[in-house]
Point group: D2
Chain length 304, copies 4
């Protein structure tokens, strides 16, 4: 498996006037480069991709490519509702030197997007994309669910190399792993189920949590690889609250505020996403503090 | 109420090579001009707006404006996930001479799009839009529902003049009408509940069905206005199957095929939407035939 | 149609010690007898049937039968998850002189209860029941939805004479009416959609609201029968809040408190249903007051 | 933790005439006694409890108690919608010598069953029950979900000793374990997530799958206890299909047919549950065969 390990789903920093702050993005990536993360997702859901114009996305992709340390895998969030536009974005990402594209399920037309329609979409994108394609399922935002049988059919395409599954459904991840070839990468999109998924054979995680707790996420991954289940379990419990209460419940605004708390540049999200209320900020702070307290209590010795 | 009566939610015709076929759009509108419809929605859900680039939308808006007969109200589908981009689209529509913009609820970030976030979005758009704003709720595609209380709060803004509600929930429409000022236009998005909604005070309908059965939709509207409840009821029953089985179950592809059947240019939808299967085509034909049979049996004398 | 008009879905009064208060039930029915209601539903959802033992239900059925004025139709809530037990209850209701049984969809096993399984259930009950069967769909409690096609198939059975549809879905009610024989009674379970449903051909309503506003519900029914759409519309608007905010949002506890407010015996529900909080009581009072204010303002002259 | 290990959720055998076949129940239990299962759930969802009268349940409880080998823990499914009736059933189970009662969430009144209402229900049951109470959440049948915070509040009651969570949500199970005292038993209701849950600290499983593959379920439990993660993972993959495709998708009828296939008495379910179609029987057979093939291929050496 080429796509494995921990990948932060990068946020898109905005300047106070609302424009994309590429300098802040570069600074964040420079810091992430020091952590043994496998690479970066640029312009995913956490990156507020649906709130950016394509011209902005292009600049973000460029800046991230320039800032990423050598050896980091670069994955571009390229999926939109239109098949043709998704292909166009995948081509542009490849041109810029990206290693793969992450293509979320089209979703606007819900019931019309049958498994067959979705399958044809991905086959068309995979046929046309110069770089490998990762499927991306995030039903809490799209209202579209996939099955293991459907994933296994697509995994037969040579240019479809993995999936980011953000459903949080460990049974589904298990069945995907069981039914797909061993070189197909099942990456999970929620830190809350990372340990359980890794133990069942998941390749890693593409995580919003890795924007604000990248070292801990990496160490959980490493503990499972090293067979240290006890440590892995304690790391998972350490991350549970900081995953659900920040990335899970507060989305990009929460992730960004947590980044501000731990020394990255977070900043505000774009409207219609609201900045955090004072009570929500306190909830982020308390989730981070609780995580830190567990780390100390359980002698987890996480860097960062 | 300025926005009342029947408005077709226009489809976007595509040429065999997938490009927008503006000539076909013009021809369709030329025919619709002969029916006493109140105006046109250009680039709504039925127009596959999420599958068009903004450059394409601009050309579609232009062509529709040029083709619409004088006196027809022109409403531009302008809502996207980003507040700023929605404002930009509303400004462009106004520049092109549109009478109003239809702004669907942002929806990608689901649970993060609280009533407060949605309210701020609409207030920002309404403040900035040079033309009046119609709210647009279509939970079957967006996963976002609204309440009558929420609509009534927004109806207090002088530049928010109505709503297109496609939920199919007659109780909700009733409550919106009861709680909003009399000049606020409640337009329904489903022909299946048109009669019931009109009788409760709805201003009219923005209907995909009006793309293929425009005369019948108009006559149902007229029958209610004229107090002929018996005729209105029979027209509603005539339209039920042709509404649910075509627009409701098959979406843009079904609407387009029904247009082909009755002499407009329909054509294929854009991927990832699939063209109809043979069985689905037969279902459209049979729904249209059943509608025609009822029209004859009930001596409804609908033109067209 | 034999089953038409307005039927209150009777509550089950409890004494302070939690036992069934048959005397209070008799007093309530004695008062309802003076309103031109078509009859009574005894032991439905509003009657908290799932919280009563069958021995208690038997006594309630007996007491209601003795208290109902001659000519009132008596309908027994007889549906439970088990087919055999539903048949046993239908037989007992018939023995006690009930005119029909109301049989809600079995629901515990959700996905296993396919349309075919539900159809076999109803056919078995209808074959065995000595009295006519009314189907009963209430998806907000059961999680089970039905389609018009499914209803139409069952309507072909000579002992299945109607449906109580509590979905609030006016399109569904329209399609049921369109597809079923004219003698099949479509009764709605929500006062919020009564006007729209009656205009489309519904036979009447089985309403929790008719426990606390029986006269107004009846007058809305009469206005539609008399063709006075304007009065019917005003009555519907008068009832909207009192329906949604009391029966809809607060269930049996809300209905009972509203009954207490207007002079019937309501009392507390059985655990696990909670009695109303003070804030909820105020919401009931204000919904009733608003209804009364509209009645006066619109000169509706409702008795009671 | 007292309640740990693997417990089959026993089916209720019926004779061809539909009556409860106690002799078959005894025979099944006699066989289960030879497997190192921790005990039995008698009259749970898989036992079709909602389709049995209380007189029948009493006889089933009696027969199971008489048949269970010494040392096996006996847990009675005692939860119904009514708080008072649940208490009565818990008392009867205690009288018969049961070790605990499993109390599913009341569910009929859905939105009215707020966390507070459910909490009061469980506190009342726990106060009155002579034996310990296990919470039981099965949202796919009840439509009622619980949160870890809510479970943790109830876990403070000295007579509430655990939960059976059938949601399949591993994140929820993790959070319950993290927030509840160490002596609180988190038991999962789905074999598909057994490995992941055990690794996170779950006490065991109450499994329909353990009716037809009891040895394999037990060996997965043992492998995790012994720290043999590799074997545990292979056992989990061996069980995935046999769990989802039989217990998950086909419910009691599927479980019973699988029991027939492997030498227990299964038989037919009660109406309205349908017996399996021929295609469904083949699906069961193929899931069992696939499970056996994996067992051989992976040299898992499971007894039975």
């Amino acid at each position: 498996m080429r796509f494995q390990g921990i990948f932060p789903a990068l946020t898109t920093p905005f300047a106070p006037d609302g424009s994309v702050a590429l300098d802040k993005l570069r600074e964040n990536i420079a810091r992430y480069n020091r952590v043994p993360l496998s690479g970066y997702i640029v312009n995913g859901s956490t990156g507020e991709s649906v709130l950016l114009s394509f011209a902005e996305i292009d600049r973000v992709w460029n800046a991230a490519r320039e800032s990423a340390a050598p050896g980091k895998l670069l994955i571009a969030g390229a999926g939109v509702d239109s098949t043709a536009e998704t292909v166009a974005r995948a081509r542009r990402a490849a041109e810029l030197g990206y290693d793969a594209v992450l293509v979320k399920t089209p979703h606007y037309f819900k019931a019309l997007l049958t498994p067959e329609a979705l399958e044809r979409h991905y086959l068309a994108v995979a046929d046309a994309s110069p770089v490998p394609v990762l499927l991306y399922s995030i039903p809490q935002y799209t209202g579209i669910s996939v099955t293991a049988d459907w994933v296994a059919r697509l995994a037969a395409h040579p240019n479809i190399v993995g999936i980011k599954d953000s459903s949080g459904n460990v049974q589904l991840v298990s069945e995907i792993i069981r039914q797909c070839p061993p070189e197909f990468s099942a990456l999970v999109g929620s830190a809350s189920t990372l340990f359980a998924s890794l133990i069942l054979g998941a390749a890693g995680g593409i995580l919003a949590l890795a924007c604000y707790l990248p070292e801990a996420a990496f160490e959980l991954y490493e503990a499972v690889r090293a067979g240290d289940m006890d440590r892995a379990g304690r790391l998972q419990f350490m991350l549970l609250g900081a995953s659900r209460r920040i990335a899970g419940e507060l989305g990009p605004a929460g992730v960004k505020y947590a980044m501000d708390c731990v020394g990255y540049y977070g900043g505000a999200p774009r409207p219609p996403l609201l900045p955090l209320s004072e009570a929500q900020k306190k909830a982020v702070e308390s989730a981070l503090a609780e995580s830190l307290a567990r780390q100390k209590r359980d002698h987890l010795g996480v860097a960062g």
